[in-house]
Symmetry: C2
Subunit: 343 residues, 2 copies
């Protein structure tokens, strides 16, 4: 039988609401810090045995319904030679930010042979996971463009938007290249056995709906259309995208990820019929006493019931200071509270 | 006759759509950098003649319909002895962050005598401005609480939310104290002649509607109710508050500020009848070529027509790299494009 996670993504009946946590693998786990000790972030993403180990770590603690590949959205950029690195405590930084058309030449297409470690890690994980699905992912074009243009994390994405508004030709050239890279990167993961893919356009919530439609949608639509023949569920997520939920679905996602700001019943209305939802407990709620967490988690489940499928998740990644014991308890609660009695 | 700005705030007929720009005074003006040279930010806020000069600078360049007092949301905290400073390139920093109930003792009530420079600056500005309104302001309780608890600017407001969820008693004590300070600070400005007040709860968009209602609304409602007898329009603004627009109005604001993410026609629906709107051109649009700016500004005007009053503004503060010439041209465009033919 198809896994509850994939069934929920497709809006099919499920025995219980499946759950996983964005950033479940990584910074909040002590065993992660142990195996990563002394290894730079992007190096760790190119060692298949380490990727597989880190991906599996949360599954030994939590009864989650899916694993998510341990990687980073800038991995494919580094793989084609972009001078990007991840600076601890800062985030992705690019030595030579993108400024004009000459920079487009630095974005050659990604070939499967550029990321052999991904193919190897996914293949070994799929063997180990058995029936449990592995989610692959790629960075969305706005978010990657912002890192390339700003040269690092940005509060307002000023330069990025200035290019989007002021030089549409260059903008569409850049986003087209990034979309092509996302397509290749996701195809590599699906070919190696990933059961679903998520496009993380983390910062796209910084743009208005009309800008999304004009300047970004053509590229995300192309990504999702290219993945359609693969037949795996496609998830689309960004933070602060309350006004964009309809467009994120319209781009071709099967599942629209929702942050904690929009209650899921309202999100279902905005995403429209036929879309499953993923989310949306505020990650900061996990720092509260258990009674608060339980009450909020039950509220998320109740509001998600009217959607065309619901995958329980946080509204953004697990915060580093989260107690892993809390996540374990939360996964169990989600399953217990949502269990359907067989007819 | 009452000024177009105040009339628009009240939903009364106006000869044209009034306009001002959040952060019109300050960082984007070369003459501001000249008069501030060598003077720390918070010191500059305590010199009445400097406050008045900086407040007036944009009015010499732009045909805006209101001046906004040059100050900072942490000024009243500093005035009661909190160890807060503004670090250039960083923002407000607090030496000893707030952690427990013992910290509440550090938040004594604000007395008018604590901020004589505000009374003096507002008084002299009102004399100089004549019919042109002066907008006073205060920081909203969530935003000030976040600076106090996190000790500085924060990406996710983790500790703030942890206190909000985990220690409601302490939370309400803190927000109650901050609301009291906001009330006193706004009353000082109104008593000295300010024609309107804006509550800047800049980061409150980080919370969900249910958290706003439970943990913040009681305090913002108290602030707006306390200002009601003053009879001046009350504006309420935060970034990323698409899901909170109804609640920002419900708190008692006459005017709901909207960032650029929610089109004003949709914002009017959410804010509900009887509320005027303020906003909402993306500040980053001002970095684009003029044709883009004009087209977006006209779109904002068109969408604002259905609201119960519209004050044109940006969706957040003027970005430092904005060309002042662009703002001058934009103010003129707003007036020309919105001029009503007398009946």
């Amino acid at each position: 039988m198809t896994s509850p996670f994939v069934r929920a993504c497709r809006g099919e009946p499920v025995p219980y609401t499946p759950v996983w946590f964005m950033r479940q693998a990584g910074r909040s786990l002590p065993e992660y810090h142990r195996v990563r000790a002394g290894i730079p972030m992007l190096d760790s993403c190119t060692r298949p045995e380490l990727v597989a180990e880190i991906t599996m770590q949360p599954l030994r603690r939590y009864d989650v319904d899916a694993a998510v590949l341990f990687s980073d959205i800038v991995v494919p950029l580094r793989a084609i030679g972009v001078d990007v690195d991840i600076k601890p405590g800062v985030g992705p930084v690019v030595d030579r930010p993108f400024r004009d058309a000459s920079d487009l030449a630095r974005l050659r297409p990604l070939e499967p042979g550029d990321v052999p470690y991904i193919t190897e890690a996914v293949g070994s994980l799929v063997g180990e996971l058995g029936e449990r699905p592995l989610i692959g992912f790629a960075g969305g074009p706005f978010t990657l463009a912002s890192y390339l243009i700003e040269g690092g994390p940005s509060k307002n994405h000023d330069r990025t938007k200035a290019m989007m508004y002021g030089d549409p030709g260059l903008w569409h050239g850049l986003l087209g290249a990034l979309a092509g890279i996302a397509i290749s990167f996701l195809r590599v993961q699906v070919a190696a056995g990933a059961s679903a893919v998520q496009l993380f356009d983390s910062w796209v919530g910084a743009v208005s709906p009309q800008d999304y439609r004009r300047s970004i949608l053509p590229h995300t639509s192309r990504i999702f259309a290219a993945l359609e023949p693969a037949g795996v569920p496609r998830i689309h997520f960004g933070v602060g995208t309350g006004e964009l939920l309809g467009l994120l679905g319209e781009a071709g996602a099967d599942v629209v990820g929702v942050d904690w700001r929009v209650p899921l019943d309202e999100a279902a209305r905005r995403a429209g019929p036929g879309k499953a939802l993923q989310g949306n407990l505020d990650p900061a709620v996990l720092l509260a006493p258990w009674e608060v967490i339980e009450s909020r988690a039950r509220d998320v489940l109740a509001r998600g019931r009217g959607a065309g499928g619901h995958v329980f998740n946080l509204g953004h990644g697990v915060l580093p200071e989260t107690d892993p014991g809390t996540l374990a308890r939360l996964a169990d609660l989600v399953h217990a509270a949502s269990a359907r009695t067989p007819a």
